[in-house]
């Protein structure tokens, strides 16, 4: 019987900071509720959230080069986990900036809103740092529960509760599959540790049960990244959620699920590469195609972006299908590095697009459908330019980061000889331009039917949009730092 595991507390610092921040925000919520000062709660909540995220990011950055295990190797800190920790914290911080107005609408609930946001960030950080399936699972559930609630938060929105319920039900359903998979895997390999699973896999003896287990575990993660056919919850949940939370789901939830998928595939399931590579191929094709085709028909921009985010998950699956099992842990694999790069760009351009959408809605006039944004490009020139850039980046047009991300992913596919997959991918991305461009066309080339109101200036929103804009260009024009970091991070994936 093993004794108490040795613990390196300093490795836990980012998580401890996040937890303290969330708890402090809860306390704050209680204080402000007593006074009924909703504006104070909003501002203080945002400020302390950003502060906590900043400190956590700083802690993570300080140990960027650390490679260490703790808690009996349940946690593994390496550049890969730190890369994702930083990406998630960054995405969350941008979403906090986007949230200021939305949280203001929640009045007394603002404190809880931020607290739940930080809790879910904590869950994600746990997920990406974990080296044990159980810990991954608990992290995932922490994240999911918090997000289910955030989708339904606030009574005023029409469909929040419905989106939340659907997301929750299908999410719980998927979790049950994941748990069942974990149970079978634990039983047949004797461990939940990722590296232990790799050595415990034995296809000769009881192999098919292990394969079923692996399939169920993968389904649990594929659900979170909204891969077709496990995607159908996504548009409803995205549309029902408050827009900042939609952004949060689209970027942070997806990023953390991809991180876990990468780690599990590489650390535990490499011996089964022959099984899952073709699956990823098929899923990539389905996900890209369904996402794009459905997006073409959307009139609601939020829902369109939801389908678009499904399509982007498809492009990322192209990279997963291009993983070279021989290169894992020894050489740098462009396929895996491209996932990291793509997710970073994807985070920025999505946050940006949602940010513009939120900003446009600030004038007391709903701005969610293609009809409603008519003519806004001229009325609000800077927002128009920013939205255009984000749309072009999403469509993969140079010199934005979106182009490089796609180029990188598709050349990884070609590099592995998956030419037909690359062709399907490029075709998809060409088709996707159609609906992205339509947003720009509506903003610039159609007259609005009514007088467009002036928009109140919002510093946090403007900051988020500008940061995203800067990032999208930076990653398109001078991406080498990030590429190097991504390359290095995947080296430690074992």
């Amino acid at each position: 019987m093993t004794g108490f595991p040795s613990i390196s507390w300093n490795l836990l610092l980012p998580q401890i900071v996040l937890l303290s921040t969330a708890l402090f925000l809860l306390l704050l919520a209680v204080i402000y509720r007593g006074g009924g000062r909703s504006r104070g709660a909003t501002v203080a909540g945002a400020v302390f959230s950003l502060l906590g995220l900043g400190v956590a990011a700083f802690m993570a950055l300080a140990q960027y080069d650390t490679v260490a295990d703790t808690f009996g190797a349940m946690l593994r800190l390496d550049p890969f986990s730190t890369f994702f920790t930083l990406l998630i914290i960054g995405g969350a911080a941008l979403c906090v900036l986007l949230s200021v107005r939305e949280a203001g609408g929640l009045k007394a609930m603002a404190g809880e809103y931020y607290a739940l946001l930080i809790f879910s960030v904590l869950g994600m950080v746990v997920m990406v740092t974990a080296a044990d399936l159980l810990v991954i699972f608990i992290g995932l559930e922490t994240m999911s529960l918090a997000v289910y609630i955030l989708v339904g938060i606030g009574g005023e929105r029409e469909n929040g509760a419905e989106g939340s319920l659907k997301y929750f039900l299908i999410g719980a359903f998927a979790s049950a599959f994941l748990i069942y998979g974990i149970a079978l895997l634990l039983g047949t390999t004797g461990t939940t540790r990722l590296d232990g699973i790799a050595s415990g896999l034995n296809l000769a003896e009881g192999g098919s049960l292990q394969l079923v287990a692996v399939a169920l575990v993968l389904i649990g993660f594929l659900f979170k990244i909204a891969a077709v056919p496990f995607h159908m919850w996504a548009p409803d949940a995205y549309e029902g959620a408050p827009t900042p939370i939609t952004a949060f789901m689209a970027v942070a939830v997806k990023a953390s699920a991809f991180a876990v998928l990468l780690r599990v595939l590489n650390v535990s399931l490499l011996p089964l590469a022959d099984y899952w590579l073709p699956v990823m191929w098929t899923l990539a094709v389905l996900t890209m195609t369904v996402g794009n085709l459905a997006a073409i028909f959307q009139g609601n921009i939020k829902r369109m972006l939801a389908y678009s985010s499904i399509a982007h998950a498809g492009y990322l699956l192209v990279a997963l299908a291009s993983i070279d099992p021989a290169a894992a842990g020894v050489g740098n694999d462009p396929a895996m590095a491209s996932v990291l790069f793509y997710l970073t760009v994807y985070t920025l351009m999505n946050v940006g697009a949602f940010g513009v959408l939120i900003y446009l809605g600030g004038g007391g006039r709903q701005m969610e459908t293609l009809e409603q944004i008519k003519g806004t490009g001229f009325r609000y020139p800077l927002l128009g330019v920013a939205m255009t850039v984000f749309m072009f980046s999403l469509a993969g047009i140079p010199p934005t980061g979106g182009f490089l991300g796609k180029f990188y992913v598709f050349s990884a596919a070609v590099n592995r000889g998956l030419i037909s997959l690359a062709i399907i991918g490029v075709l998809n991305s060409a088709a996707s331009a159609y609906y992205y461009i339509r947003v720009t066309v509506q903003m610039y080339m159609r007259q609005s039917d009514e007088q467009l109101p002036g928009l109140p200036f919002s510093l946090p929103l403007a900051a988020a949009v500008l940061l995203a804009l800067y990032g999208v260009f930076q990653l398109g024009i001078a991406p080498s730092d990030l590429l190097t970091a991504a390359d290095r991070a995947v080296l430690f994936l074992r």
Binding site: M1, T2, G3, F4, P5, L19, L26, F71, G72, M74, L75, K107, A108, M109, E112, A115, L116, F119, L122, G123, V126, D132, L134, V135, I138, G139, E141, T142, L145, A146, Y148, I149, G152, I153, G155, S164, T188, E205, G206, G207, S208, L209, L211, V212
Partner: protein, 168 residues
């Protein structure tokens, strides 16, 4: 031998209860059958020497979780079944077929695991008792345990946020 008889009896009971739980019109009746199913499982846990877990099963599941269900059903006044026409029958039929095919897949995978047939005749002393579980929980599994605390806190906050009294 007695063990086997017990097992098969409660296995059958749990399946019947589960089936009834998901087919009854009245949600309260469903809950009752679900409780019966969970009790049967608790008995099987005892057969599997998971004594502590069997107790937790009864206390947490039957005692707390399902009571919460009953409470909500009562609160929402949903004692009768759904009214209105059934929709998506074809779809549900397809789903049922898929579910049965998945069961088939599970079953052939389980049968395929040929080498591991019988359970060992006797568990080690103390196996499955509270002390054994507790020791592991508070040593090797201390990190997930702490995380679980966070998870429960999130659940509490969430429940308050969503179902708490609406502020006017």
């Amino acid at each position: 031998m007695a063990e086997q008889i017990f097992f098969y009896f409660f296995a059958a009971l749990s399946i019947v209860s589960a089936f009834l739980a998901v087919t009854r019109k009245n949600p309260v009746v469903s809950v009752v059958w679900l409780i019966s199913c969970m009790f049967s499982l608790a008995v099987i846990y005892v057969i599997l020497s998971a004594f502590f877990l069997a107790a937790v099963q009864v206390i947490v599941y039957a005692g707390a979780i399902l009571m919460l269900f009953v409470f909500v059903i009562m609160m929402l006044n949903l004692k009768t079944g759904m009214v209105g026409q059934l929709r998506n029958l074809g779809l549900k039929f397809v789903g049922l077929i898929a579910a049965l095919l998945i069961l088939r897949q599970f079953y052939s995978a389980i049968k395929g695991a040929g080498a591991m047939t019988g359970l060992p005749p006797r568990a080690a002393a103390g196996f499955g008792e509270a002390a054994a579980v507790g020791k592991l929980l508070y040593s090797q599994y201390i990190y997930p345990l702490e995380l679980m605390a966070v998870l429960l806190l999130v659940a509490i906050v969430g429940a308050l946020v969503l179902a708490g009294k609406e502020q006017s």
